[in-house]
Amino acid sequence: MIVRILGEGQYDLDDHALDALNGLDSQIESAVEAGDEAMFRTALQGLLAAVRASGTHHDVDSLDESDLILPPPDATIDEVRELLGDDGLIPG
């Protein structure tokens, strides 16, 4: 599985390694919904650190698409909302 961290590049990750990150993903989701910037930062940093730790750099000269694209490490909640499009908040 290929994961891209925006501004950083692509990483190869085992599928099971990714499963372990689901908890952090739902934390990020609820932080974005609640507009809790501090919680969002912590969860995002945790998620990206886990990707870097369990992944290896994907070949830079490949033209492979990523399975997952993650926000840049210094992204704010507003930027994530922008990435999600104009309607912003995720329903449900």
């Binding site: 925006l6 974005v32 998620l47 990523s66």
Partner: protein
């Protein structure tokens, strides 16, 4: 991974939408390659712009540090002259500069970080553009328009994602740089106007500056006087040691010679 999955899908669809498709899919390859080269030069310009801003901030830090050192010197002089009030004022201004310097150094670090990120983004894009070019030539040489479709789709979406990423990186760097340029402009104007000499930015600062100037020129005068006094005390001593006759004789000879020469001329 619901939220992240969603971000991924939207990002990818935007990246793909940005790539126009030509009627002959092989033309799409050339068109896309053109766009990639344009993006590459854009990211290079981005690196240069951020570097320029960073250097400007560095220059400002140097200027303010010099100013702080000058105020420190003034404070020391003022203390030496027993003017604690002036020393306090100079140190107050210096501490005002210190917070400016700290904030500028933070900006400098941010710009440095953006510069490094863009350099890496440029390297990644460069590698992918190179790979795309090779793939493009292979596809054009090997496949008919109909056959090429799938291969082109693969190559295009891979590069499209990278281009979207780099485009975002450039935009974010530009935003950060623009914010800092606005602040940098303000500081340049302050430095030029001399307002930072009075970190308190009160009009009263001018009087104190003058007093400090007067104080330092006053002490310069005193120092000069002291040197002159010391000189006049030692000079006669040295001459006296050589005896009064010697003083009179060598002076008398050339004076005589000169007067005779002058008389002859």
């Amino acid at each position: 991974m619901s939220l992240m999955k969603r971000i991924s899908l939207i990002f990818r669809s935007k990246a793909n939408k940005a790539l126009d498709r030509a009627e002959d899919p092989r033309e799409t390859l050339d068109y896309s390659y053109q766009r990639q080269l344009e993006l590459l030069s854009k990211v290079r310009r981005g690196v240069a712009d951020v570097a320029t801003s960073r250097k400007r901030v560095e220059l400002q830090v140097n200027q303010l540090e010099q100013q702080a050192a000058k105020l420190q010197g003034q404070a020391e002089k003022a203390i030496g002259a027993g003017r604690e009030d002036l020393a306090r004022e100079a140190l107050t201004r210096k501490s005002g500069l210190a917070s400016q310097i700290t904030s500028l150094k933070e900006q400098q670090a941010t710009l440095q970080g953006e510069e490094e990120k863009l350099v890496l983004a440029q390297q990644r894009l460069q590698a992918k553009v190179e790979a795309f070019r090779t793939r493009k030539e292979t596809i054009k040489a090997t496949y008919t328009a109909a056959e090429a479709q799938t291969r082109i789709g693969e190559a295009m979406s891979g590069i499209g994602e990278e281009m979207g990423d780099v485009g975002l990186a450039i935009q974010r760097a530009e935003d950060k740089t623009a914010q800092m340029q606005a602040r940098g402009q303000a500081i340049d104007e302050l430095i030029a106007s001399g307002a930072l000499d009075d970190a308190s930015q009160l009009n009263a600062g001018d009087d104190i500056s003058r007093e400090l100037d007067a104080l330092s020129s006053g002490s310069d005068v005193e120092a000069e006087l002291a040197r002159l006094k010391a000189g006049s005390a030692t000079q006669p001593q040295a001459i006296e040691a050589g005896d009064g006759d010697i003083l009179a004789e060598p002076e008398a000879v050339p004076v005589e010679g000169e007067t005779t020469e002058g008389g002859r001329a």
